[in-house]
């Protein structure tokens, strides 16, 4: 069963080499298992991106298909 849980994040490195990680697990001896942070906020930071809305997108490119109830 999958339970809902918060995700802890850490930053390692310095200056331009700093990267963000998610804490996957903590071992009994305190060792942390990390993986790169793939949260939407982290993605936007790495891409140098500001959010846009569907309405803004459609104003530039035209209408997209409506939701189909799948997800």
């Amino acid at each position: 069963m999958v339970s809902e849980h918060a995700i802890a994040r850490v930053r390692l490195g310095h200056d331009d080499a700093e990267r963000e990680y998610v804490v996957m697990s903590e071992e009994p001896d305190g060792t942390l298992v990390l993986r790169p942070d793939t949260a939407a906020e982290a993605i936007r930071r790495r891409l140098g991106s500001a959010p846009a809305t569907v309405e803004e997108f459609e104003a530039e490119y035209g209408r997209v298909l409506p939701p189909d109830g799948e997800g």
Binding site: V2, S3, E4, H5, A6, I7, R35, P36, D37, T38, A39, A40, A42, I43, R44, R46, L47, G48, S49, A50, P51, A52, T53, V54, E56, F57, E60, Y61, G62, V64, L65, P66, P67, D68, G69, E70, G71
Partner: protein, 131 residues
């Protein structure tokens, strides 16, 4: 002044970390890699883009995201995109958020592309509504 003509294809950008994570499962890799190469070369046809559900039946909440099925038009895989634009300005663009199966086989622990996108947006796995 005449309105600016709308573009038929939207630019797509990919984040290396999210991309690498989603391609760890072996299956679907070829579809993902081929699709990314096509999108980076030609852009995403807007006619294939569909809005995600604000509240999915599986508990996912993806308001403001767009998706495309792979291979188009109705393949079993999908990309989910954020919408954004460069902080330097410029046109709106699609930003890769997740790749995966639309409907993972029952009994597997593999998340759907929608569950991956939800976790990246909200920091939590989706909670299916009580039945």
């Amino acid at each position: 002044m005449a309105p600016r003509p709308r573009l038929a294809r939207a630019p797509v950008v990919f984040d290396a970390e999210a991309w690498a994570e989603d391609l760890q499962p072996a299956s679907g890799r070829e579809v993902a890699v081929d699709s990314r190469a096509r999108l980076e070369r030609e852009g995403q046809p807007v006619s294939e883009l569909r809005a995600c559900d604000a509240e999915g039946r599986d508990g996912t909440r993806l308001a403001g995201c767009l998706k495309v099925y792979l291979p188009p038009p109705a393949g079993p895989w999908g990309f989910v995109f954020l919408l954004g634009r460069s902080t330097d300005g410029g046109p709106a663009r699609l930003e890769f958020l997740a790749f995966g199966l639309r409907h993972p086989p029952e009994g597997t622990r593999r998340p759907s592309v929608y569950a991956i996108a939800h976790r990246r947006l909200h920091g939590r796995v989706p909670r299916p509504p009580a039945s």
